[in-house]
């Protein structure tokens, strides 16, 4: 069976050592995805532990003349959508008999989610994080450690998410028999992009129902920020078949893998990547550590090429302005990452707008105040 699920994108470009583990993961995933007992356990944890469903909030002051609804993943336990994926993958890891979780993190939100589910399910947890990200997301480092995770600084390259991901994969290569790699976004080798999308699809599924209940119609546009793209793919998953709903992904201007990338292979998948003409991966730059990544999930590259989704960018300054506006006018402090989506929600043409507010901004206080 092909591992390229998304046209020419996807695949399994990994050292042979990992392939049997990916086969095992794929088989395990196929077994649990339609297993009522697994779904029930995940839903139970979602409802009683994570705080699902998250609310949908109408923000009339933020965007006068529009009806902008925020899907409040910032209100999920640990403060971001990352927990949806972490819970599902950790349950799967336990079924596969793995004792340990390894994860990468950029903003620290996925690392916190991985540490949280590991604590809850009694698994060991190791998180790789670039030392530059550790500096700019200090509170999340402390949270991970309080939750019992070992946080390992990565001193390579730009000391951010790309290097943290490479190191997490290298750790997995060395410990593959006992360890599950809990990847945080819809990137990586097959079947990870599919697993992460399915586990994040709860975001779009809930939002669709909630918006229909509130407005009696679907949104004209659904907007999400895109780093690796997991909150966006989760939101979009709810509307892929609704042709009238425009899907809009917003990348950081300095990390626009879709707007400025080319086909390349990074972290196990062929996708649209910031790379030079020789296939060497370039550095990304964003104030938002969760978007500071030169790659993107292969399904986003496919959705871009097919025209089903559109991808635009927002600058650091635009994101900061939207963040301040939401805080001042609605009493909601978003993370820097979804602030990029908010910036484009303000100036899009549509009137009925759905935005995934993927995380809260407490972790960014230092960066926001310092900028």
């Amino acid at each position: 069976m092909s591992t390229h699920l998304y046209g020419a994108y996807g695949g399994r470009y990994v050292p042979e050592t990992l392939v049997p583990a990916l086969d095992e993961l794929e088989a395990g995933w196929e077994e649990v995805r339609d297993d009522p007992a697994f779904r029930a356990e995940l839903e139970e944890l979602g409802a009683t532990y994570a705080g699902r469903p998250t609310p949908l909030t109408l923000c009339l002051r933020f965007a006068p003349g529009k009806r902008v609804y925020l899907k409040r993943e910032d209100l999920l336990h640990t403060g971001a959508h990352k927990l949806n994926n972490a819970l599902g993958q950790a349950l799967l890891a336990r079924r596969l008999g793995k004792e340990r979780i390894v994860a990468e993190t950029g903003a620290g939100q996925h690392g916190v989610a991985a540490a949280t589910v590991s604590a809850r399910l009694g698994l060991d947890c190791v998180v790789f994080m670039g030392s530059e990200d550790m500096r700019r997301q200090r509170p999340n480092v402390e949270r991970m450690r309080l939750l019992g995770a070992e946080v390992i600084p990565v001193e390579l390259g730009t000391r951010t998410l790309k290097e943290a991901t490479s190191e997490a994969i290298r750790y997995w290569i060395t410990n593959v028999e006992t360890t599950h790699y809990l990847i945080g976004s819809c990137v990586g080798p097959h079947p990870y992009p599919e697993i992460v999308r399915e586990l994040q699809a709860v975001v779009g599924g809930e939002a669709r129902e909630q918006l229909l209940a509130a407005e009696g119609r679907l949104p004209e546009v659904a907007i999400a920020c895109v780093g690796g793209g997991s909150n966006a793919i989760g939101l979009f998953a709810g509307f892929l078949d609704d042709e009238g709903v425009r899907l809009l992904g917003v990348e950081a201007a300095g990390a626009a893998s879709l707007a400025a990338g080319r086909p390349a292979i990074l972290h196990g998948a062929r996708s649209s990547v910031l790379a030079d003409e020789d296939g060497q991966i370039l550095d990304a730059h964003s104030l938002a550590p969760g978007l500071d990544y030169p790659g993107v999930g292969p399904q986003h590259a496919f959705l871009r090429d097919s025209g089903r989704a559109e991808y635009v960018t927002a600058t650091d300054e635009e994101a900061l302005a939207a963040l301040r506006r939401l805080a001042e006018l609605e009493g909601i402090l978003p993370a820097l990452e979804p602030a990029h989506a908010l910036a484009r929600a303000l100036d899009c043409e549509e009137e009925l707008v759905l935005v995934c507010l993927s995380g809260r901004g407490d972790k960014d206080l230092e960066a926001i105040v310092g900028s």
């Binding site: 399994r12 990994v14 042979e16 050592t17 296939g279």
Partner: protein, 231 residues
């Protein structure tokens, strides 16, 4: 006689280093084409790749380096690289141009046998590989099968390679192609231990480290491996 494979990173000094390695007893030279994000590599080769990229060793320059090595040595030469370089250069074009520059085959560290099976190359198998995957890799491989001796990345290890014997025994049952062992082999003693179960031995990280001290140091090192393998 056990084949001795020496890995060197592409760079301005590589032709001279390759010549020294072959003179001292290397039977084959692997030539690293550096990639910015080498998932299969430990710290030594990663650092060497970073340095090579900083020196401008992009694909064209590496092919040129390969051609210059070819002029100096008669031993088989095998570029070892990552899929992103081939994706950018064109898969078939890369293979053709490498052959044109003197390569006898190709190793792509992050391209398991099940991806792009049509690209002729030396396949790798690991201690984690199932018998089915070893069989597939052996069927597709170009000349010999690369046994990844450890569950891990490249790099010198103190502890040896306990998983190698089992992997080699499984591979022997499944195929008649020659088996070369690499990853985690650096000292003459480790090379000799690997040679008891494999037809060839690959040294990478340690060779790259020694090569930093120049051709004379590399010659001494390769000679010590050759002696250990022949004794």
């Amino acid at each position: 006689m056990t084949a001795l494979v020496v890995y060197l990173m592409s760079g301005p000094e590589t032709p001279e280093l390759a010549e020294a390695a072959v003179e001292a007893g290397a039977d084959l030279v692997e030539l690293g084409f550096p990639f910015s994000d080498p998932l299969a590599d430990g710290p030594i080769i990663r650092k060497a790749a970073e340095r090579a990229l900083a020196q401008g060793m992009r694909t064209e320059a590496c092919l040129d380096c390969l051609a210059r090595v070819r002029k100096r040595v008669d031993a088989p030469l095998v570029p070892m690289t990552y899929a992103s370089l081939l994706e950018a250069y064109g898969w078939e074009r890369f293979a053709a141009d490498a052959r044109e520059a003197g390569a006898t085959s190709l190793i792509v560290a992050d391209l398991p046998a099940s991806e792009r099976p049509d690209l002729r190359r030396i396949q790798l198998v690991a201690p984690t590989s199932t018998d089915e995957r070893i069989g597939l890799a052996a069927t597709l491989t170009d000349g010999w099968l690369y046994l990844v001796s450890v569950t891990g990345t490249t790099g010198v290890r103190a502890e040896g390679t306990p998983a190698l014997a089992g992997l080699a025994a499984r591979a022997r049952r499944l195929t008649d192609v020659p088996l070369y062992a690499g990853f985690g082999i650096g000292t003459p003693a480790q090379a000799r231990a690997a040679a008891e179960v494999a037809d060839g031995v690959v040294v990478g990280s340690r060779a790259v480290e020694v090569a930093e001290d120049g051709p004379a140091a590399l010659r001494d090192y390769v000679r010590s491996l050759r002696l250990a393998l022949d004794s």
